[in-house]
């Protein structure tokens, strides 16, 4: 009813190719962004800290990996380690130059991560598919080892953990013990929105088309004049940049240091990859769906079920969480193997045609 293109006349090619072809899409996105800014102000710290902040961080990382896996078709299992590179780079930079604003260092640390990503992306020129995934596992385990064994990275602290210093933005503390969850949430939200916007522009432009051409058929792409070497490495660089920023944000604005050692483990890599797959490969909105599903479902099962009158002991709840998450993954894959983003697109298409089935 509301969602249809009647009355929308596209007079230019640009209008036809727009990211939001229907005006309601644009309005919807603006509403969601506005809600993301306004609603958390009325939420509890617990809600912001456990639900919203991790969701934003995972979304950012999932967008990054989606650029690589979804758009360029290169499977990577090193996401966790690339995020770690960002976190440790940011830590070294902000402790070495405390005068410069943390936000600057968060963005700069993305470039360190990008450099490492390009280095470990080199094998992608010879191999792809699961072979490449295993090759990127080398990055994962090697970097993870570095984070533990090279004391210089965590400034020789005895515990081996990153100790997040207090940092402010315009006089308001955004990192460290004195920062409130709400300010941290807003900082992450702004970074996420900016980077989502950039990612959307990249994938809708020339670079994105190059990536998709490589993904769909690399030989044909090469014949059309797209250089596989540069394109694949660019994908690795941009993707690792996103992951690095996500890692820095995760360490400084979410974890606040502490258990840094285990934070960037192989499990994180897998989690992000599965968010991308279940959300929808090659879809930016899918990254959000995937992050929401894989992050929120366990939380819901843990805290939501007792609220609905299924009291569960701590251990049992965790076991049940695993069980149900597994079931949900299989269920969603069978319902729509192309991810939640495809389900969303189908639903929108149906709405457009409503009340007619075709």
């Amino acid at each position: 009813m509301l969602y249809r293109e009647a009355g929308l006349y596209k007079k230019t090619y640009e209008a036809d190719m727009a990211v939001f072809p229907i005006r309601q899409d644009l309005i919807g996105v603006i509403l969601i962004v506005a809600a993301a800014f306004v609603l958390p102000a009325f939420m509890s710290n617990f809600m912001i800290g456990t639900v919203l902040i991790p969701f934003l961080v995972f979304s950012l990382a999932a967008i990054g990996l989606n650029l690589l896996t979804g758009y360029t078709g290169l499977l990577s299992l090193g996401t966790g380690a690339f995020m770690g590179v960002g976190a440790y780079a940011c830590y070294k930079l902000t402790t070495a130059f405390p005068g410069v604003n943390l936000i600057v260092w968060i963005i700069v640390s993305g470039f360190f991560s990008a450099a490492i990503g390009v280095l470990f992306g080199l094998p992608s020129l010879r191999i792809k598919g699961f072979y490449l995934a295993v090759a990127t596992l080398a990055a994962q385990f090697f970097l993870e080892w570095c984070f533990v064994r090279i004391p210089w990275l965590y400034n020789y602290s005895v515990s081996g953990a990153i100790d997040v210093p207090n940092r402010t933005l315009f006089g308001i503390p955004i990192a460290g013990a004195s920062a409130t969850p709400l300010t941290r949430y807003y900082v992450i939200l702004v970074i996420l929105i900016a980077m989502t916007w950039i990612a959307s522009n990249i994938v809708h432009g020339r670079i994105g088309r190059m990536w998709m051409a490589i993904r769909d058929m690399d030989i044909a792409a090469e014949l059309m004049g797209i250089r596989p070497l540069q394109t694949k490495l660019l994908a690795f660089a941009v993707s690792s940049f996103y992951c690095g920023v996500a890692g820095a944000v995760m360490m400084f604005l979410w974890y606040g240091g502490g258990e840094a050692k285990d934070a960037f483990s192989i499990n994180l890599s897998f989690n992000i990859l599965f968010m991308v797959i279940i959300g929808g490969l090659g879809s930016i909105v899918g990254a959000f769906f995937g992050a929401a599903l894989l992050h929120l479902v366990p939380i819901f099962l843990k805290f939501g079920l007792p609220a609905f009158g299924f009291p569960l002991a701590g251990a049992t709840a965790e076991h049940l969480t695993h069980l149900l998450t597994g079931l949900l993954i299989i269920f969603f894959l069978i319902v729509e193997p192309h991810g939640l983003a495809r389900l969303w697109a189908t639903a929108k298409q149906k709405l457009r045609m409503w009340p007619f089935p075709y």
Binding site: R126, G129, Y131, V134, E222, I277, H322, I329
Partner: protein
């Protein structure tokens, strides 16, 4: 520095050959276990093209089921038989509920589905048997205990009897699998499916049936691995991560080659232990966790199809 890297380790090897033999043996045993896990991967990948992430958890699940049944009062051998039955039910269920609805989907989707299976099995295993590590029932399964000390090369080499048993059993199982593949009707069908799904279908081989058999075989391999690995340490969910070690083995050996899995397993196992023992101290130890992957990565650059893998692999 250069001396420490290039000369000193070899001097050590020559000066203390008993330590070298000991390290080699440890490497071989670890290699056999890696090879067993890799074998499970290869079996499934060959027959269905599925990269089975759940192989690691299948190892844990099989071990847990065996121990759990025994703890519930079932005699050891009966528990073993029952566990085999459970693995069959698991294979059947996976084929019917996961693989069949997802037939003809891209590889990565099936990979994702096996991740779902992993979560499911973790949850199920924890739910039924609890999350704590369990002790493998070695005595009841007539596995030997203790160690043999061999005086040789001016020193003493200690070999656990259990490790010998593991190597022998693994060898027997691989031989049995080879015979099964080469000379039975089902084995021929399996090889046909591995070559081409469509051609196999057209000569009347039921893909669904073959998949159940393959997953069941992989389940049996997982059970044996679970017993062996569980006997060396405990049966715990941590084993699942160790199973990732089988991945560089796959790269070395190729995703589709059974002998490759075994040779690759041995190379990785021995290379890892030697590297850790002689070169590890130079960089602070713990290099075991990534050395295998690095070996595999370098190897990939020169021979992407693996030692024995099919030549046809996707590249550039």
């Amino acid at each position: 520095m250069l001396y420490n890297i290039f000369i000193d380790p070899f001097v050590q090897m020559v000066q203390m050959p008993d330590l070298l033999v000991q390290t080699l043996w440890e490497g071989t045993v670890a290699g056999v276990l890696y090879a067993l896990i890799a074998l499970g991967f290869v079996l499934i990948f060959k027959a269905s093209g599925v990269f089975n992430f759940a192989q690691g958890i299948m190892v844990v699940f099989a071990g847990l089921t065996l121990v759990g049944l025994h703890e519930a009062g079932v005699p050891a051998l009966l528990a073993l038989i029952l566990t085999v039955g459970v693995m069959y039910v698991l294979a059947f269920g996976i084929e019917r509920l996961v693989l069949r609805p997802l037939v003809n989907q891209p590889d990565i989707i099936l990979f994702m589905a096996t991740f779902g299976i992993t979560f499911l099995l973790i949850g199920l295993g924890e739910f039924i048997f609890g999350g704590n590590p369990k002790k493998m029932i070695t005595d009841e399964l007539f596995l030997p205990k203790g160690a043999i000390n061999i005086e040789m090369l001016g020193g003493r080499v200690t070999i656990q009897k259990l490790d010998i048993a593991a190597a022998v059993i693994a060898g027997l199982m691989v031989a049995a699998l080879a015979v099964f593949f080469q000379s039975t009707r089902i084995g021929r069908a399996l090889r046909a499916v591995a070559d081409s799904h469509k051609a196999a279908l057209s000569v009347g081989i039921s893909l669904n049936q073959i998949w159940v058999i393959v997953w069941f075989t992989a389940g049996l391999v997982a059970l044996v691995t679970g017993i062996m690995w569980g006997a060396r340490s405990d049966v715990s969910f941590g084993l699942q991560i160790i199973a990732l070690k089988a991945l560089p083995v796959l790269i070395l050996g190729g995703f589709t080659s059974v002998p490759g899995a075994i040779v690759g397993g041995l190379i990785i196992g021995i290379g890892e232990k030697i590297g850790e023992f002689y070169w590890g101290p130079l960089v602070g130890g713990g290099i075991e966790s990534w050395l295998a992957f690095l070996i595999a990565l370098v190897f990939l650059l020169f021979r992407p199809q693996g030692l024995f893998g099919d030549k046809i692999i996707e590249r550039i």
